[in-house]
């Protein structure tokens, strides 16, 4: 069985140690976490944990079932038809060609979010794969620091 990449959303009660239950499950059972984001769901007592993982079919099935078994888990969504976005923040020296950087960012749904005397900070938000292309392209402007945000996804 070959490994596949999966984005899984877990809707959980927003209560103490729930994130430890989710991440502990992955650590304890030897599942992979590529990225994990968590935030409360507005107007509810729930949180959404979005996890990117990979494994073969049996492993992915176990992951969703084990997540579902956690008492505070309301719902587990193994995304198929989804819109998926990741945000990235990058710091460059203002000596770089700012106009070029700006154009590049715009191609990835981003732009300059902060410009100081010595540095500029840009933001881009796109599918993970495209964020990787973006970062490759950004290499030529010698980024000083890169912060990736992890993935959020919504079913179409």
């Amino acid at each position: 069985m070959e490994d596949v990449r999966r984005v899984i959303s877990v809707i959980v009660m927003n209560e103490s140690s729930v994130l430890a239950r989710v991440s502990g499950l992955f650590a304890g059972r030897g599942y992979n976490i590529e990225s994990l984001t968590v935030a409360p769901i507005p107007n509810s007592d729930l949180s959404r944990v979005t996890i990117v993982t990979n494994g073969n079919k049996r492993v992915i099935e176990q992951i969703t079932k084990q997540l579902h078994k956690l008492v505070p888990t309301l719902k587990v969504i193994e995304h198929e038809e989804m819109v998926e976005k990741e945000m990235v923040l990058v710091k460059f020296s203002s000596d770089q060609n700012i106009a070029d950087i700006q154009v590049l960012c715009e191609a990835y749904n981003g732009g300059i979010v902060n410009a100081g005397e010595d540095i500029i900070i840009i933001m881009a938000a796109d599918e993970s794969k495209r964020i990787e292309y973006f970062l490759e392209a950004a290499q030529r402007y010698s980024p000083i620091e890169i912060v990736r945000g992890g993935i959020v996804a919504i079913e179409r």
Binding site: S16, S17, A20, R21, K65, K69, L74
Partner: protein, 564 residues
């Protein structure tokens, strides 16, 4: 009504109908113990170690089907209880364990006897709570009992900071529980059940594979009826011994690493596995790629995560064994043709004749298998048998004539040495009319021998039959087979005086080396109202056979009994 958190704990236990709490006090749980002192509704048994308290609650739960309750203090009290939690977790035993915690203001400061109990127990409990607000305490306690005993049952820990047991608040114990995020499915999908029924009617060599879930679901009577109606042969897992009753002609035996030849061959040749509350553990399947190569699989389990975890399943059915079996019976009762499986039953009967479970008895030295058979002859269905972990456990599973579920109590999943004696105390408290025998080893018994004192104080007369081979026998057996007889750290030639040990703690002891002595000692011990250690010297190098070496295919068994 206004009351303290400690009173709430007691009121909740009373409301849940708890009869016995096993526990051990300490600083962080003292408020609750003060309330225990003031009440008369339930009994508290002071074990002499927290691990034993949890095992005793566990044995009580296994013998009665009720939720077992244990109570411990923070820090070391809790960490001592962890093995008990893990043991119950692996075998899906319903427990509520209440632990004291340092006061809320001290949490996170490395306070005296502070340890992150919910953190440590997260992977070995079904669920756990750190109560951070007294307003939540009644609901948490109600949920704890509900979650422990519903769905796939298991242990639940409730960790309560000391300030919360002291605080006064309104108490109203909820009548109902509703946990929005937790809804076990009992019924099974009717379409899948129908397909499974059709598969049963079409099969030539179907096999009932019965596991511990059948015991937990109290489905034994139904499963026996199902087998009788269909005349489908049955194998039991270690956890399911007693479900079919050993006099049942449809029972082939126990399968797995130390299962019978016929059982393992049945599993290897069946064309349809009907798995009821079993989970395809590696000790059952042997090498997975060789496991049941000709079989389609019907898997009935209350826990969806068990289905498809290790083997691909053709008919997955998430539900309670009792409910699903009832539905299956309704669907096939018209069309079942029991003759269809006649040839298959004959094949298995021949396998049973070819290599029956057996041993070479001796007149010079007691054979452990003989001792177990003899207990069976003298007590049979009247006894509850608990066990520890090792060769003695496997022989007990193989050679005791089990008659009903909940008669056999052992740590199958975690394999916890030291489980048997405290579990026997709990079982005896839960079923006082039964004779309770712990079949144990000279290694295992020492791991909770302090419970002699508990047993004497509370007059819980359980009989520990120590099958004394002067070895950590099971490990020694592996060293014999797979490590060229290098007996690294398994020789227990240095022995305590078991009789004196029992007597020193208010019990009674017997040294036994012959069949006559054994008969006499057992008959005497049954009449006593004292806990007993029966030190039975058995042949040292006896091996548990058949054996499927780890990683080997189930049909490749070591069979020969060569006396050494």
């Amino acid at each position: 009504m206004k009351m303290s958190g400690a009173q709430m704990v007691c009121e909740a236990l009373i409301a849940e109908g708890v009869e016995t709490v096993f526990g051990y006090p300490g600083g962080a749980i003292m408020n609750v113990y003060d309330e225990i002192y003031k009440q008369n509704s339930f009994e508290h048994i002071l074990t002499r170690h927290e691990q034993a308290a949890v095992h005793a609650a566990d044995g009580y739960a296994r013998a009665t089907g009720k939720v077992g309750v244990a109570m411990v203090t923070s820090g070391p009290g809790f960490t001592n209880a962890v093995t008990g939690l893990a043991t119950a977790y692996t075998d899906s035993i319903p427990l509520v364990v209440i632990s004291g915690q340092v006061s809320s203001s001290l949490i996170g400061t490395d306070g005296f006897q502070e340890i992150d109990a919910v953190g440590i127990s997260r992977p070995c409990t079904k669920h756990n709570y750190l109560v951070d607000d007294i307003a939540k305490l009644p609901k948490v306690l109600k949920e704890a009992f509900y979650i422990a005993s519903s769905g796939r049952s298991g242990p639940v820990l409730v960790d309560i900071p000391k300030d919360i047991t002291a605080e006064i608040a309104d108490f109203k114990y909820p009548k109902d529980v509703f946990v929005e995020t937790y809804k076990p499915n009992y019924k099974g999908n009717d379409r899948q059940i129908k397909k499974a029924a059709e598969a049963i009617l079409k099969a030539r060599k179907p096999l009932l594979y019965v596991g511990g879930g059948t015991v937990l679901s109290n489905a034994s009577d139904l499963v026996r009826k199902f087998a009788k109606m269909t005349q489908i042969p049955t194998v039991e897992t270690l956890m399911a011994r007693g479900v079919m009753g050993d006099s049942n002609p449809l029972l082939i035996g126990m399968l797995g690493m130390h299962g019978s030849y016929a059982s393992n061959m049945a599993m290897s040749e069946t064309d349809l596995i009907i798995s009821l509350g079993a989970r395809f553990d590696d000790r059952v399947t042997g090498k997975l790629s060789e496991f049941a190569r000709y079989a389609d699989i019907i898997h009935v389990d209350i826990d969806p995560a068990n289905i498809g975890k290790l083997v691909d399943v053709d008919y997955p059915i998430v539900g309670d064994v009792s409910i699903v079996v009832k539905k299956l019976m309704d669907l096939i009762k018209e069309d079942i043709n029991t003759d269809r499986y006649q040839a298959w039953r004959e094949i298995l009967a021949r396998y049973e004749e070819l290599h029956p479970l057996t041993y070479n008895d001796s007149d010079e030295v007691l054979k452990p298998q003989w001792v177990i058979e003899q207990i069976g002859k003298l007590l049979g269905k009247d006894a509850i048998i608990t066990s520890d972990v090792g060769q003695h456990q496997m022989w007990a599973a193989q050679f005791y004539p089990f008659d009903r579920p909940r008669q056999w109590i052992n740590s199958g999943g975690l394999g916890t040495m030291g489980f048997g004696f405290p579990a026997a105390l709990g079982a005896k408290r839960g079923a006082p009319e039964k004779t309770v025998i712990n079949i144990t080893g000279d290694g295992s018994i020492l791991m909770n021998m302090q419970e002699l004192v508990t047993a004497s104080e509370y007059k819980i007369p359980v009989i520990n039959v120590i099958l004394n081979n002067h070895f950590l026998g099971m490990v020694r057996q592996w060293q014999t087979f797979f490590y060229d007889k290098r007996y690294s750290e398994t020789d227990l030639s240095y022995q305590p005086n078991f009789v004196a040990l029992a007597e020193a703690c208010g019990g009674i002891g017997y040294d036994v080396t012959t069949k006559e002595e054994f008969d006499k000692a057992l008959k005497d011990a049954i009449k006593q109202d004292k806990v007993c250690f029966m030190n039975v010297i058995v042949s040292r190098f006896e091996n548990v056979l058949p054996m499927v070496p780890t990683g080997g295919a189930l049909y490749n068994m070591l069979l020969e009994h060569k006396d050494q």
